[in-house]
């Protein structure tokens, strides 16, 4: 029985190219550029379309409202990048924010000074971060499940401190803290932009930013290279918790009242922006500027649709789809890169 495996030559075009590494490198760079700025380009095009097609869009008022209204979510999204970069999840940030806002509102209504109220709120954030870090980093529990647990526990805590009621009448100190304007820009937006700049610097320009990337990318290699992997992961959870609590202080002042049931609404949106942002600028890496671009892109799209008559449900659909598109795009891009390698 003839059992011959053979491959017969087909026609070959062109000359063999032994410098196999060269030409793909060029096309990879070209593709890299397109990939890096695709999201920004889509955002600009979307903005121009909205400006051209929707008359109501052409008002400075709408644009500023749009930006300021997203600042809380932008702050949360930036906080989310901190732990995500080290390869872990911190899903609890949105409830930590509401919990901290509730603490501020309730303590203030009992006449506690703003300084003490803020200190206690930040301490709450630190405690949540430390608990997360203890379970995830020290004991080694899966971070997704752990922080889903602390998310839920904090949701309960919010109802406990507020007595399941909306706490209104947040003192003027907090309202001014979030809503007073500098050069026409509300402080809440300034906080968000400053955090973008700070995180951009840390992520892109410092060894610490590089270390977080390696810890998220290959933890074994990072440890073997002598990085303090556990300390950095632990620190990321602490910073994440404290910053989430700070966003809670801003939140209390921005809305002037705290609804204990609102945490769930803030859970997914930051992560959608972060994942979409990771497909831009520093492709495949959670980054601050990409997150900003992604969030504003989502906001422009949603506002445009709402002006065209869509109801509030459009927000959830838009964010949900954006998250799925972002992770799909990242997956496909990764597959394409790998396929070019032997």
């Amino acid at each position: 029985m003839s059992t011959t495996t053979q491959q017969t030559a087909g026609s070959t075009g062109g000359l063999p190219d032994p410098g196999a590494g060269k030409s793909p490198a060029v096309s990879r760079n070209g593709r890299g550029f397109a990939q890096r700025y695709a999201l920004l380009g889509i955002g600009v095009v979307l903005l121009l379309i909205c400006l051209a097609a929707i008359p109501e869009f052409r008002s400075m008022r709408l644009i500023t409202t749009m930006i300021n209204g997203q600042s809380i979510i932008l702050l949360l999204a930036l906080v989310a990048t901190i732990v995500l970069r080290t390869g872990d999840f911190d899903l609890s940030i949105s409830q930590t924010m509401v919990g901290s806002a509730a603490v501020v509102a309730v303590l203030s209504s009992h006449g506690v000074s703003p300084a003490l109220a803020i200190a206690l709120a930040l301490l709450l954030g630190l405690a949540v971060g430390a608990l997360n870090a203890l379970l995830v980093v020290v004991i080694g529990v899966d971070s997704f499940v752990t922080t889903l647990g602390s998310f839920t526990a904090m949701a309960g805590f919010c109802y406990l401190v507020t007595g399941s009621r909306i706490v209104a009448g947040v003192p003027d100190f907090f309202v001014n803290f979030s809503r007073s304007t500098v050069a026409g820009i509300p402080t809440v937006t300034i906080y968000a932009w400053v955090l973008v700049l700070v995180l951009w610097f840390v992520y892109q320009r410092t060894p610490l930013g590089r270390y977080t990337l390696f810890i998220g990318g290959n933890r074994n290699a990072a440890r073997l290279a002598g990085l303090r992997v556990s300390a950095i992961r632990f620190g990321a959870y602490l910073v994440s918790g404290v910053l989430a609590a700070f966003v809670g202080v801003v939140f209390a002042g921005y809305f002037g009242a705290v609804d204990p049931s609102v945490g769930g609404q803030y859970m997914l949106q930051p992560f959608a922006a972060v994942y979409l942002g990771a497909t831009a600028l520093a492709v495949g890496r959670f980054n601050a500027v990409g997150t900003l671009v992604a969030l504003y892109l989502l906001t422009i799209g949603i506002t445009g649709l709402q002006l065209l008559g869509a109801q509030t449900w459009v927000t959830n659909i838009f964010y949900g789809l954006a998250l799925m598109i972002a992770v799909t795009a990242a997956k496909l891009a990764g597959r394409k890169t790998r396929a070019g390698l032997t």
């Binding site: 029985m1 003839s2 059992t3 011959t4 495996t5 053979q6 491959q7 017969t8 030559a9 087909g10 026609s11 070959t12 063999p16 190219d17 032994p18 410098g19 196999a20 590494g21 060269k22 030409s23 793909p24 490198a25 096309s27 990879r28 610097f201 892109q204 320009r205 410092t206 060894p207 590089r210 990337l213 390696f214 990318g217 290959n218 074994n220 290699a221 990072a222 440890r223 073997l224 290279a225 002598g226 990085l227 303090r228 495949g284 890169t337 790998r338 396929a339 070019g340 390698l341 032997t342």
Partner: protein, 506 residues
């Protein structure tokens, strides 16, 4: 057959003929197109032109289910689940011989596999967790699993009509373990199957294969029966040039007594881990020693114990007289130690990061300025270091994934050589690296010896150890059972293998 990617041909007009009943070696340097060929045969990619005929039938592209054509591939990373039993792993791709919601007939399953293994002359315990198997047994399991699937499709009870492709199956195995797999390959071919064996270990190829094809830059540059070729010919075909020797010679051994004696750089005193027991040795400046043993005898654990990856139960290592607490790798690195890990993808690098980022990771603070990392200086530094080890292409901006295995390993070497380590631990330093690149890397190691470093090589590759080391320690169940020195004139591949296996027989 031709396959091109973005202008660069990975496979170029390739001819390959494998006969039934033979073990055919497919050889070539990293990145020469071997993997692409395997992918084309199994349907991961489709060729741009040309065809493949398997057992008289031409493959139609895209290939959707290679096993229906009689093709089975066993990868280096063999895809078995650690936390399941042998039997559960065996049945998974054959659907446990039943329907999705059907009842799994364990007794019948066992009978099928027992019969299959008897024919292959191997024994695997069905109810053992795969995590408890020796490395070679995992490969054997993968072969048995593939064979069942093929037989289920062509119904024949012999190896006829089956083509196995084994992609570097022995790369992670030590000499004795690899023997078992090689014996199985021989047996499969004797039963009538066609076996394609992809390997960088030429000694294995010479021992077990009937014929070979060498690929270079996507072309088949040589094809001959093994009996009519020689090792030198094969390497010449792979490299496109003749290579005088496969391994560089170590420099003269430093003197360890008298006035001009070299200082002791690494002292290991009574170190004990899960496997390693009460091990004591000293390595001097300018000295290169090897540590070997059969798989699981402790030479895998030892580098981690010395470098602080895991804390020893007893004993300690000290570097230049400084005793290590071994709580973290950081402490050892600060003391002047560098470990090139055995598993590059798991421990050595971040594959999505650029070569520059990976290379400068241990030294990146030195590029930090008040305004942030000086990326220009970092890039230039990376380019210089990559040029020193001969990385191709020398583009630090490329992600690690864009380099072939040998070039990735060069970047990992450069990462540690730049720290001028006083003690350099190399765990399987040339695993999965082609002979040309391996020679380059080992020459770099020899240069560090001239600079006064102490080097320890942990490897199951006895031939390499015999060629490059001043002396080799042999471990058995974690204990030092033999020490063979170059000065004695007895340091050869054969004596090392003998020293590894004799305690096992006793």
């Amino acid at each position: 057959m031709t396959k091109a990617y973005g202008g660069a041909k990975a496979i170029d007009d390739l001819d390959l003929h494998v006969k039934a009943g033979e073990v055919h070696a497919l050889l070539g340097q990293n990145g020469c197109g071997k993997s692409t060929l395997v992918k084309a045969l199994t349907g991961v990619h489709s060729p741009d032109s040309g065809s493949a005929t398997v057992f008289g039938k031409e493959l139609t592209y895209p290939v959707t289910a290679p096993h229906t054509h009689g093709i089975a591939v066993i990868h280096q990373d063999i895809g078995v689940v650690d936390q399941m039993t042998v039997l559960e792993n065996l049945g998974v791709n054959a659907g446990y011989g039943t329907k999705l919601f059907g009842n799994v007939n364990t007794r019948r399953e066992k009978k099928v596999y027992a019969e299959l293994m008897e024919r292959l002359g191997i024994v695997l315990p069905f109810d053992t967790m795969v995590s408890d198997l020796a490395p070679a047994e995992r490969s054997l399991l993968a072969v048995v699993r593939a064979m069942r699937l093929l037989e289920a499709h062509n119904g024949s009870g012999s190896g006829e009509g089956q083509l196995f492709i084994l992609d570097e199956p022995t790369a992670a195995l030590s000499g004795g373990e690899a023997e078992r797999l090689l014996a199985l390959m021989r047996r499969m071919a004797d039963l009538g199957a066609g076996v394609v064996f992809i390997s960088h270990r030429l000694a294995e190829v010479m021992a077990v294969c009937d014929s070979m094809t060498v690929m270079r830059a996507g072309k088949a540059v040589a094809s001959a029966p093994i009996a009519e070729t020689s090792r030198e010919d094969i390497v010449a075909a792979m490299l496109g040039r003749r290579m005088e020797d496969f391994f560089p010679d170590p420099p003269a051994e430093p003197s360890k007594s008298g006035v001009a004696s070299a200082r002791a750089r690494l002292v290991v005193d009574g170190i004990t881990g899960d496997v390693v027991k009460d091990l004591t040795f000293t390595v001097h400046a300018g000295e290169i020693i090897g540590v070997t043993g059969l798989a699981g005898m402790g030479q895998e654990e030892l580098p981690g114990l010395i470098a602080g990856v895991s804390t020893p139960l007893k004993g300690y290592a000290s570097i230049d007289g400084k005793r290590l607490q071994a709580r973290s790798p950081r402490e050892a690195i600060d003391a002047g130690l560098a470990l090139v890990p055995g598993n590059r993808l798991r421990d050595g690098c971040w594959i999505a990061g650029s070569a520059a980022e990976n290379l400068t990771l241990p030294v990146v603070p030195q590029f930090a300025k008040p305004w942030g990392i000086d990326s220009g200086a970092e890039f230039t530094h990376a380019q210089t270091k990559m040029a020193e080890v001969g990385t191709y292409p020398n583009d630090p901006a490329l992600p690690m994934a864009a380099f072939s295995g040998g070039n990735q390993q060069k970047v990992v070497f450069a990462k540690w050589l730049q720290t001028n380590p006083g003690v350099l631990l190399l765990d399987e330093p040339t695993q999965g690296v082609d002979p040309g690149a391996a020679h380059d890397l080992l020459e770099d190691v020899m240069e560090t010896l001239d600079g006064g470093s102490a080097v320890v090589v942990f490897s199951g590759d006895h031939e390499q150890l015999a060629a490059i080391c001043h002396r080799v320690l042999v471990l058995h169940h974690g204990r030092l059972v033999a020490e063979i020195t170059r000065a004695s004139g007895d340091l050869t591949e054969a004596t090392l293998l003998h020293a590894c296996e004799t305690p096992a027989a006793a």
